[in-house]
């Protein structure tokens, strides 16, 4: 299907009191935030902060022990099919069907999403040309580089023009041209039809350039949320960069100077 049917809420994503536990390890605790229409929301955090777990709960890969995840009003646990129809997802690692070629993979995704051949072909070709992927379109995915796989995943996520894009570190393996292209594409994409984007990264520059608002996660807990000016006000520093705000809110700046000094060695 093309865009989803009439949404029961205009808010792309609402997360309330989310709690995710792996065995005895608490990955996310009482997390609440929303992605508003027309907004790119950046989820920032160190490794293991709970970004990917939160994203996995949105796309139905992890079942939370408490809390609610709603995509346009649809519950991610009880209405997972409706949620999956409305979401385009790029995972953190490019785990694809290695034995398929990008064309075969995209044809599969387009088939599952019931796209018509003309629309699917036009969109796939447009993105493949933009990402300079045509030469690899018939090579097995197993032989492709990580960056190329990432591009294939991005095309697959955009193929049905979903109202919510969920991107887990989507720019990690991309070349500079593709990064620039993606930033421009996402900015334009989210400006139309009340769409939203949830974007996880630990690259502060990208978040500062791209995201309308960011949420800063530390050990599964939201330490701060808002626009850059709002976050600066929160740390009472009018010219603080997002990196400085992040380090302050997560208290990862404590002892950092000493650690750097120690790295210089004897």
């Amino acid at each position: 299907m093309d865009s989803a049917a009439a949404p029961s809420s205009s808010v792309p994503l609402t997360i309330e009191g989310l709690r995710i536990v792996y065995g005895e390890r608490l990955a996310v605790d009482r997390l609440s935030f929303a992605v508003r229409p027309g907004e790119i929301y950046g989820l920032l955090g160190s490794n293991g902060a709970g970004k990917s777990s939160t994203i996995k709960a949105v796309v139905g890969l992890v079942t939370p022990v408490a809390g609610k995840v709603r995509v346009f009003g649809h519950d991610a646990v009880h209405e997972s099919f409706s949620v999956k129809e409305r979401v385009g997802y790029v995972p953190e690692t490019s785990l694809l069907y290695e034995a398929l070629t990008p064309r075969e993979f995209l044809e599969f995704v387009a088939g599952v999403r019931r796209l018509d051949p003309k629309t699917a072909s036009e969109r796939a070709n447009a993105f493949a040309t933009a990402f300079r992927l045509e030469a690899e379109f018939e090579e097995p995915i197993a032989s492709l580089s990580n960056g190329t796989r990432q591009k294939v995943l991005l095309i697959a996520a955009l193929l049905h023009q979903p109202p919510l894009l969920v991107l887990d570190e989507p720019l990690n393996s991309l070349d500079p041209r593709s990064v620039r292209l993606m930033k421009e594409l996402l900015t334009r994409y989210v400006a139309q039809n009340g769409r939203g984007i949830l974007f996880s990264t630990h690259t502060m520059e990208v978040a500062a350039q791209l995201c309308h608002r960011v949420g800063i996660l530390d050990r599964g807990v939201l330490q701060g949320e808002g626009t850059l000016p709002e976050l600066r006000a929160r740390v009472r520093s009018g010219d603080a960069t997002l990196e400085e705000i992040f380090l302050r809110l997560t208290r990862e700046d404590e002892g950092l100077s000493e650690t750097i000094a120690a790295l210089e060695g004897p």
Partner: protein
């Protein structure tokens, strides 16, 4: 660093390989709940169980051969007009046994190699500061560990059982042949594994190339059919050997003693009765000795080559730079069920393990139909053989069907984020099983119709069984998807998770077999009725679930 370090590293690597083989994390599967240590222990246990399954089969074959040798080998017999003396009987038996060992270990090897490649173990080790010699040893030991229990079973049980049955000297004399057989099967597995990486896994997309891949995959099935061939053609082997011995060593047929595994199979008989027991004189003995020496040198070279080459098995040649297609590519999406079916077929065309499941029932039906045609057994027997071939196709398709479920383990984490209901998956895989059965049935129909013109009977028989084949697939896939939702998703290839596929096949085989039993008692109407009832009972179970 040396062998000790290599053994240590290969042990760690094998643990990772077991974990990846069972849980397929690198292919996108998610970790099931539970402490990591428990997962590791379970993975290692599963791999040992699967090795034990393969080893048990090989041990049973050796035991069966020893039993046959004990019961029938002492007196010899006459098959047709050809005398089969006890030494000839023993040679035939050992030839069949060594042939089965090579073919079965080779087959097991090519089943496991895609798992080794997918695990990504060797590429992880490669950049580590391990010196080249130790890395070669580590890779070789890791490869040997894939075969350790089955290979040891062959090496120990064959001489032991034959020694107990026929005497110590026979047991000892069979050992060189067993060792050479193991070396050849391991090397053949590696050769075909490399072929797989270069010609099948790395093949580009497109319809014409898919046909070439399927043609290569038929070659891939040779060891499986060789196992079957050695199992079924033993009586013909005794006759052929009897003729060779009767013709003497000057006849051209004496060259048979130069073909592996005949020279090694001759050793036990020679150890008991001397060369004359097999009618071998001076030139014949020289020929045999030359062959023994040649094969021993070849096996030694194969072992060295294997040792040097294992580390490069996963090296996929870099993609060639090709001109960019300017006209664009067209996607032809076809809806969820056909999308899954097409995806499975495309994955199977680059994955021998899955291609095997599709091709075996079809090629088996072709082979049975072909032999029925050339043997010209007469109308009544042709009919029985033809219906038997269709029955075999139905049961094989039903038995192998559950293994297609393992395709869903690939990119599982990504696949689960798509709006793809379980019933679309169940339906697509059931259609695949149904298609395999219909193609196999049609092959039999084509061959047998040339001998006995009863197309209506065959067509009605094939179509009457079809609902039961579909019902069995519904039941099997329905159970597997239910289990996958209820628990973590286990990989179910034939080596690492055989139990799940085998257990779920039992009710499937019962459902597919019920109409065949009905046919034998009450004819076609009863068969059709039972099949339709089976379908009516299983379809709601498989297709009536929610969409999530």
């Amino acid at each position: 660093m040396g062998w000790r370090e290599a053994a240590h590293v290969s042990d760690v690597a094998f643990t990772e390989l077991s974990l990846q083989a069972v849980y397929a994390f690198r292919q996108g599967n998610l970790a099931p709940p539970g402490p990591p240590r428990a997962l590791v222990a379970r993975a290692r246990r599963r791999v040992v169980q699967s090795k034990a399954l393969v080893s048990g089969f090989l041990g049973l074959i050796a035991l069966g051969a020893a039993f046959v040798a004990r019961v029938y080998g002492a007196t010899g017999s006459t098959v047709g007009s050809v005398p089969v003396t006890p030494p000839v009987f023993d040679v035939g038996l050992v030839v069949a046994l060594l042939g089965i060992d090579v073919a079965f270990l080779w087959w097991a090897g090519i089943q496991v190699l895609p798992t080794l490649l997918a695990s990504g173990v060797l590429p992880v080790l490669e950049p580590l500061p391990i010196d080249p010699a130790t890395f070669r040893r580590t890779a070789a030991l890791l490869y040997l560990r894939l075969f350790d229990l089955p290979a040891l079973t062959v090496i120990v049980t064959t001489p032991l059982f034959l020694g107990v049955a026929l005497g110590f000297r026979v047991g000892l004399a069979v050992l060189p042949g067993v060792l050479i057989a193991v070396a050849f099967s391991l090397a053949l597995s590696l050769v075909t594994g490399r072929f797989f990486v270069r010609r099948i896994q790395g093949s580009r997309g497109g319809g014409g190339r898919a046909v070439v891949r399927w043609a290569y995959l038929v070659l891939w099935l040779l060891p499986a059919f060789a196992t079957f061939g050695f199992l079924t053609s033993a009586p013909d082997l005794f006759v052929a050997l009897g003729r060779v011995v009767a013709a003497g060593t000057h006849a051209p047929s004496a060259l048979l003693w130069t073909v592996f595994p005949f020279p090694f199979a001759a050793l036990p008989a020679i150890a008991v009765g001397g060369p004359s027991a097999l009618g071998l004189s001076g030139p014949g003995v020289s020929l045999l000795l030359g062959a023994l020496l040649g094969y021993t040198l070849l096996a030694a070279w194969a072992a060295v080559w294997l040792f040097e080459s294992v580390r490069t098995i996963g090296h996929v040649p870099a993609a060639e730079v090709r001109p960019v297609t300017t006209g664009g590519y067209s996607l032809r999406p076809t809806g969820p069920v056909r999308a899954v079916l097409l995806k499975d077929l495309r994955i199977a065309s680059r994955t021998p393990g899955y291609a095997f499941l599709i091709l075996v029932p079809i090629l088996d039906a072709f082979a049975l139909g072909f032999f029925t045609y050339i043997d010209d057994p007469g109308p009544h027997l042709a009919l029985s053989l033809g219906l038997g071939a269709v029955t075999t196709a139905a049961l094989l398709a039903t038995f192998f069907g559950p293994a297609f479920f393992a395709i869903e383990v690939l990119a599982y984490a990504y696949g689960r984020t798509l709006p793809l209901p379980s019933r679309a998956n169940v339906l697509a895989k059931t259609v695949l099983v149904g298609l395999i059965y219909l193609i196999a049935g049609s092959a039999v129909l084509g061959f047998v119709a040339a001998r006995i013109f009863a197309p209506t009977l065959f067509a009605v028989f094939i179509l009457s069984e079809l609902p039961a084949v579909i019902a069995a697939a519904f039941l099997e896939f329905g159970l597997l998807f239910w289990r996958a939702r209820a628990r973590s998703l286990p990989i179910t290839n034939l080596y690492t998770g055989a139990w799940a596929a085998i257990l779920v096949s039992i009710p499937g085989l019962l459902v597919a077999g019920a109409p065949l039993v009905a046919y034998s008692f009450r004819g076609l109407p009863a068969m059709a009725l039972v099949a339709v009832i089976a379908l009516a009972l299983t379809a709601p179970l498989a297709l009536g679930r929610d969409r999530s």
